[in-house]
């Protein structure tokens, strides 16, 4: 039996580079997500400054197109996705009573590939120009004929690498939830956030390979001179739109479903009531995911698919309103008859409900194809998807972060500042985006770098810009709140809210690296609440105290991602002239790409050859530290 700690425990930076602990990976995701969210937010503010008045020349037309492209791409792929993954990582193993995810190594790999993909994409700003064809990168605008810089290459290859990380994460959470649940936790006893994570992961698994192929095709067109979207040689630009949206529409449900999960947890906890209509919530989540794959072409009503296709996709899209409505009413009736506490987490969750409903109803309006001929590609659409993604997802993420912050860091966030955050953010949000519905309806198309005066657009654009800055203030208050919380010492009870219902609140805050000293026995939905009601103070263990097997830290995921980063960069510049014969030689002969791939494949080989047997935490050690009486 492998004993003792033959394993090297790293300290400082090395600890973070080599960690495979889901709780630390959650923090890494949060940091990286926060970084990219900040970059995307600054891009948003620059966009709003440019649009504050007509015929403004704060940025040039080209810079503006780069800003909108990077704002969209960054926020979707690099801003909100990792924060979702941060919450999943921080919470899912705890909610299902597991000591870690199914594949700790893959978990780390998923994070590092995401990070290096994101860094690669953002490098474009300092390496000749960011992508400028919109986050949808429609061809032929994104082809080398019309987008002359390497911007779109950074987009295709950066997203390819980041997307790989997301796919790995998705598979990992699926496997984790299928196999790692504590004894007694049947599928229909899983907390709602676990359910939505499960469904989201399944959607990731089936949606991301489509964009992988799309990005490969576009990369081949741009770098190898292939003709997928080149009309002269028989290519078809509309094909890109289909592939993009077959991924793109499920992607928006991938984003929003975890927020639904967060809201379900927060509303239920702070109403001190179990979730109303749990089974119908599960059913609605699965139905939304299923329909989410059937409606991609509603982004293409004006592409010219013909009336039959437009009619079918209209109806299919409208149907999504039904399961979504079920969710809204279930939340309202969870609160009905409860005892609601409006702390920051619950304020964000409560603010979510009406805001998301507004985004939802405009979604149904957009689903009607003939009306969409008018809304399409106008500020009405911009308003709609910001209501859903910011008013829905981002409010949900704020709610989740405030709710689980004590669990993740062992410190409370300040409630007073939290309320300031909420009100500045939500008022700023509605100021920014409510007027945009009308801007669209009175004739302002989206993605315009400026507009002529006297079209009736001026005042509403100014209001929108003011609102955007107010949202910025809200985010800054949140950062201040975080900074203040880290001045406080660590030390909170297991269940700092007092009304925790699920397993994560049955262990210390922050949890020890092995999470559960003994795997808990789950006896119903809301496992901890059930024990509390039965008069118990803690969970009944399902196993005796014994040595706990832990995976070893490893630098390989980091190295594999660095390899992909190098390979991607090398591939992009294969046909460039650097004015230096050595550089030209190593790039044009795929040597740089080869080195990168060699690092990645070599790391994979090492991982296969040297099995990780992990290490153990012995029972004596469990009793000495980290466990409260």
């Amino acid at each position: 039996m492998a004993h003792a700690h033959s394993v090297k425990r790293h300290k400082g930076l090395m600890d973070w580079l080599t960690t495979v602990d889901h709780k630390k990976i959650a923090i890494l995701y949060l940091l990286a997500g926060g970084l990219f969210f900040g970059i995307g937010g600054i891009e948003a503010l620059l966009i709003r400054v440019q649009l504050a008045k007509p015929m403004n020349d704060f940025v040039t037309a080209q810079q503006f197109n780069e800003l909108i492209t990077m704002h969209g791409t960054t926020m979707i792929f690099l801003g909100v996705m990792p924060v979702i993954f941060a919450l999943m990582n921080a919470v899912i193993p705890l909610q299902i009573g597991a000591r870690d995810v199914a594949f700790p190594f893959l978990n780390a790999l998923g994070f590092w590939t995401f990070l290096f993909g994101g860094l690669l994409l953002n490098l474009s700003w300092i390496m000749g120009g960011a992508p400028d064809a919109g986050w949808t990168s429609y061809t032929p605008l994104s082809s080398t004929t019309y987008s002359l810089t390497h911007g779109v290459d950074f987009y295709t290859i950066g997203l390819q690498i980041a997307g790989l990380g997301t796919l790995i994460g998705g598979i990992n959470f699926l496997a984790t939830i299928i196999t790692m649940r504590a004894p007694g936790m049947s599928y229909m006893r899983m907390p709602m956030f676990t359910w939505t994570t499960f469904v989201t992961s399944a959607m990731i698994l089936f949606a991301f390979p489509a964009i992988t192929v799309g990005l490969v095709l576009l990369t081949f067109d741009r770098i190898l001179g292939a003709n997928f979207f080149n009309v002269e040689a028989g290519g078809n630009p509309v094909l890109w739109q289909h592939i993009f949206w077959i991924f793109g529409h499920p992607e928006v449900y991938i984003l929003i479903l975890p927020a639904f999960g967060v809201i379900s947890e927060v509303v239920s906890t702070f109403s001190r009531k179990r979730l109303f209509g749990y089974s119908s919530m599960v059913f609605a989540t699965i139905l939304i995911a299923f329909l989410g794959f059937m409606v991609w072409a509603h982004h293409m009503f004006t592409t010219g698919m013909g009336p039959v296709a437009n009619a079918l996709f209209s109806i299919a899209t409208m149907l999504i309103a039904v399961p979504t409505g079920i969710k809204i009413f279930n939340w309202l009736f969870t609160m009905w008859g409860g005892q609601i506490t409006f702390n920051t987490a619950n304020l964000f969750a409560s603010g979510f409900i009406p805001t998301f409903v507004m985004g939802g109803v405009t979604g149904v309006m957009l689903a009607s194809a003939p009306a969409d001929y008018q809304y399409h590609d106008t500020y009405f659409v911009v308003a709609h998807f910001h209501y859903v993604i910011v008013g829905g997802l981002v409010l949900g993420l704020f709610a989740g972060l405030h709710y689980w912050w004590p669990k993740m860091f062992g410190r409370m966030l300040n409630e007073k500042l939290g309320k300031w955050e909420f009100w500045t953010f939500i008022i700023g949000f509605h100021l920014t985006f409510f007027v945009q519905h009308f801007l669209g309806l009175i004739g302002m198309q989206r993605r315009v770098f400026t507009y002529l005066p006297n079209q009736g657009f001026d005042l509403m654009n100014l209001v929108s810009t003011v609102g955007a800055f107010l949202m910025g203030v809200g985010v800054i208050i949140f950062l201040v709140n975080i900074a203040i919380s880290f001045k406080k010492p660590v030390g909170l009870p297991d269940d700092p809210w007092g009304d925790g219902r699920t397993l994560e609140w049955s262990i210390p805050s922050p949890p020890p690296e092995y999470n559960f000293k003994q795997t808990p026995l789950v006896r119903g939905i809301d496992a901890l609440w059930k024990e509390k009601v039965a008069g118990h103070t803690e969970m009944t263990p399902a196993e005796p105290v014994g040595p706990i097997h832990m995976p070893s830290p490893t630098i390989l995921p980091f190295l594999m991602s660095v390899g992909l980063f190098i390979a991607g960069l090398g591939f992009m510049f294969t046909s460039d002239d650097f004015g230096n014969s050595f550089l030209n030689f190593i790039f044009s002969n795929y040597i740089v790409t080869g080195i990168g791939l060699a690092i990645t494949l070599g790391s994979m080989l090492l991982r296969s050859l040297f099995d990780d047997h992990g290490w153990h935490i012995e029972p004596e050690e469990l009793n000495n530290k980290g466990v409260k009486a």
Partner: protein, 352 residues
């Protein structure tokens, strides 16, 4: 009797409210909310139906939410455990069934309109056929039945169906005249689209490109000018008249060698850039420099000659990323020549 200032005080809020409401509806020639033809009217009808349903839904949700938030706040000292409700079958059926019914209502009207607007009138004898070709960053309109090609201003007769065949010469664009009809994308060869619309009354309507197409996407504007049938016929005749060239031979020479290598006037020149026949009667130069002589919004514009000079002296400054060579830097025209050409073009008007 009220004192006058009191009446003003009372009426002011009403006045402000009304003008706000009107401004929220936008300009008559630009807004989706103020349709000027049957297609846009039908689309607005659907929008209104959807808004009505959605406002009702929102009021119900907001009402329940407000009630719950006020009524079920946790009061100080409230420590008993609230009743843990698993669900309520009846309620859940209700809020599944009602949205379904609402969706079906909206769905029926949607399907009906999808097919109505998807009609192809290109073989209808009474329709005016127009081939729309979008370019970076301008619009080409050709009338196959009349053998006429123009650019930027789409002249149409009122009360007639306009049957469009839309395609692009480069990247994807989207044809949008908010007050007359929703968008149709202009795709590459192989996926050419058809659409139709109609203007009920005479006027100049603003059109825009609605698909990101590059730096000057924002400036890829055009106008639809609806005139009566007689004027339209006159316009076609004027367009077919022999080209008018600059009177002064030196200017004519420069115009022929430098401008007509891409542009066309009447029967002369090449169709690479926008057709310039009768450019003096157009609403704008380069789509965005509005002309004071125009009929749409003359108060926003500058004299056409000044617009032409501005454009010809610095095309990239006016419309970044456009494909026209700079007359001065790239083609070697002098300021005098540019101004002479601007004079000529400003005077090249069509009467119709």
């Amino acid at each position: 009797m009220m004192k006058p200032w009191k009446a003003v005080k009372r009426l002011l809020p009403l006045f402000v409210g009304l003008s706000l409401l009107l401004s929220a509806c936008g300009r008559e020639d630009l807004s989706v909310l103020r349709p000027q033809g049957p297609v846009a009217e039908g689309q607005l009808g659907l929008i209104k139906l959807a808004i009505t349903i959605m406002v009702a839904v929102m009021l119900i949700v907001f009402g329940i939410a407000a009630y719950v938030w006020v009524k079920f706040r946790r009061k100080p000292g409230q420590n008993e455990i609230p009743k843990q409700v698993e669900g309520n079958f009846k309620l859940e059926v209700i809020w599944t069934a009602i949205p379904l019914v609402l969706v079906i209502i909206l769905g029926v009207f949607t399907v009906q309109k999808v097919f109505a607007f998807g009609e192809n009138y290109s073989s209808d004898k009474n329709a005016v056929k127009v081939k729309v070709t979008s370019h970076l960053f301008w619009w080409e309109f050709s009338y196959p039945d009349y053998g006429v090609t123009t650019a930027q201003d789409l002249i149409i007769p009122t009360g007639k169906k306009i049957a469009l065949e839309l395609k692009t010469a480069d990247v994807l664009h989207s044809f949008w005249v908010p007050s007359l009809a929703g968008k149709t994308d202009t795709n590459t060869d192989g996926t050419i689209n058809n659409a139709w619309f109609e203007a009920s009354k005479e006027g100049v309507y603003l059109g825009k490109c609605a698909e990101l197409c590059g730096p000057s996407h924002a400036f890829m504007e055009f106008k639809v000018k609806a005139v009566n049938q007689e004027s339209f016929d006159n316009w076609v005749a004027a367009m077919k008249a022999p080209a008018v060239l600059p009177e002064e031979p030196a200017v004519a020479e420069v115009f022929k060698t430098q401008c007509l290598s891409c542009h066309a006037v009447g029967d002369q020149g090449l169709p690479v850039g926008p057709n310039l026949t009768g450019i003096g009667s157009r609403e704008a130069i380069a789509g965005i420099l509005l002309n004071a002589e125009g009929e749409g919004r003359p108060e926003d514009g500058k004299p056409i000659r000044d617009n032409l000079v501005d454009w010809l002296k610095d095309p990239q400054g006016v419309k970044p990323g456009n494909k026209m060579p700079a007359p001065k830097e790239d083609l070697g025209l002098t300021d005098t020549e540019i101004e002479a050409i601007a004079d000529y073009l400003a005077d090249y008007k069509l009467t119709y």
